[in-house]
Symmetry: none
Subunit: 201 residues, 4 copies
DNA sequence: AATGAATGAGCATTCATTCAT
DNA sequence: AATGAATGAATGCTCATTCAT
């Protein structure tokens, strides 16, 4: 019974997060009413406040939850990659772009809301996002140690630049839902761009 | 007299735009009250509505105005560059990053608000932003025609990726106001990353 | 419980309508603030919008509600009248004038706001008001069929004229709150005026 | 020159009054912006305040001006009437209804705004309107003295009732602009109604 | 006298949050 | 835990009026 309850609770919490994701993706944080999230989640308005402190907290929790999921997936996929650093970079890019098709709402949410949140939900240092960057950063650093990646670039800077590039392209992918983008080709091109840019010569 | 009046009007419009830029950069569009913009600009609340249809229009007009300025500056600086395509790409990056120190408010505004606006002010196709991308795109295309840039990447995709990278790094520069950043070094590194990535081999 | 809730809701709705009636009667639609209605009704400002779409809708709903009540009362009183058509006309007039003393606010509201509403809330065809007119009209038509009312007048025209006369006198009664008015005498005189005017000879 | 100026001034004042009449008739007092009146009159917004103290004063002045004109016309037409009191009553009614076709804006304005003004522009006792009523009242009193009108009705009450009847029918005429109302027939019927009602027997 | 840009008080409406049930 | 009716602070926008030119 205790588990049942927890399961139920957790189920409700998840439904609220999903509702919020859908709504935020569609209309953005500021244009989404709490009541819309509630109705999307199939719960009463007040119920949301049993699981989240307020609307801001809901946004933050959503980041935590989804970024955690993304990072976990990234880590596990990277672990599977056999081959050199550049293969891994390729995989990161592929995974990033795949979001646009696999998880359109999530892609839209991250690309659009990430910046707002970083800036306006002051007390919140988006740690998950930092984690994501660190994965790239460490990969680059590793490549540098191995000598396959040039030494004259700052790995943090590179991770930022790469994330920015990926995110912007993802945004484009997401917004222009219509066009039959060839995700594979895009992945190949962007990966190649960075790989060539990063190679030691 | 007519000119004086027009000058004064235009002056008031400019002051409102500046007030809006400052306020939006500081608190974001949704957290900025019209009355704050007014007081920042030193005009009455109602005066804003003599120059702009509503708060949304003010945001859009601000984009138009500032992006136009940025593009103009980019064009004129690019025209001055002597040397090959890669020198020009270097200059674009330099100019982009210089925003963080020269025009902190503008940098903050563009990096944070650009995405929101692209998405929620649906009827507004941010033409100026597209213009900016096109400049990069054309540069890449030109390089491809000349044979110095690899042929196997889509110039539009590259322009997106590059803009994303620049913007994300700029955001970082802007948020971590810690002066410590060596803009020149960053410019050099990012430029080199892309140049190497783009070179024909 | 469901009934209790509905009763309470309906109670709140009624209180808002009463508050609106009082306020509109006192200061007119345009000079009444929504917050005044709320405070008169003992609810929060926002609560009004749970029951009415907006201020206009509140006005219209108030008409619907009160005119319905007036008409119901008129119908039931007419049903009680024993005697000829003229007795019934007498009763209509009496009832109309009695509003001034029995329901001063309602009288003031109807006499003053009816015209405004008819004209400016264009999409609203004040059906209740038409219903009221029709009652008079049918009475006249009935009298004509019976041969006791002259045939050479249009019953719709007469109903309009009679309503106008009653309403104007009621307005006077209402505005000059000086109690001195002898409602019975007025009723007698106006009734006699119309009865004599309408009689077949 | 002085006359020219005065003429010009007076011309501007008239144009403002005409603009106000048109605008008020179309949209009512509260929904008409001062700037709309100004543009209708072909003057600047501020100019209106050279001729009228404020928007209320403009409304009052418009009443004064137009009612004065109506009364003057009524008096002169009544003076022309040859025949008994009842002929004169007939003429009053005819004149009243003729407004609907001759001066649609004025008719609309009077029927709709009269009541508002009576109630909400507190300091203003609409003397012109009272004058109008008095004309009817005196006519009735005269008829009573002559013995042709029944003695048992209060002439003030009758004047109110008659005005109300006329005004309501006029309102109907005005609002339903479409229907090819037969004004003459209506005049005849309403006049006959009151004449028969008022006759001594 | 005339203008119309500027003002700023005023107000309808929204919506995150609470709390009695 | 869950509900959803109720709250009331918050704010974008309007428009009568002013006043420098």
């Amino acid at each position: 019974m205790a588990e049942a309850k927890r399961a139920q609770s957790s189920d409700k919490r998840q439904r609220i997060l999903e509702g919020a994701l859908k709504a935020f993706a569609r209309k953005g944080f500021y244009n989404t009413k709490v009541s819309e999230i509630a109705s999307e989640a199939g719960v009463a308005d007040g119920t949301i406040y049993l699981y989240f402190k307020n609307k801001d907290d809901l946004l933050i929790s959503l980041f935590e939850d989804r970024m955690e999921w993304v990072i976990e997936r990234l880590r596990s996929e990277l672990a599977e990659v056999e081959g050199d650093i550049f293969k891994k970079i390729h995989r990161i890019i592929e995974l990033h772009f795949r979001l646009a098709t696999d998880q359109a709402d999530l892609a839209e949410f991250i690309t659009v809301e990430l910046r707002q949140s970083a800036k306006f939900v002051k007390e919140y240092k988006n740690q998950r996002f930092v984690d994501y960057l660190v994965i790239i950063e460490e990969l680059v650093a590793e490549g540098q140690k191995e000598g396959v990646i040039r030494d004259d670039v700052d790995s943090r800077l590179v991770s930022r630049a790469m994330f920015g590039a990926l995110d912007e392209v993802l945004l484009q992918l997401t917004l222009s839902k219509a066009a039959g983008m060839d995700v594979e080709r895009m992945t190949a091109q962007v990966a190649d761009l960075f790989v060539e840019g990063l190679k030691s010569r």
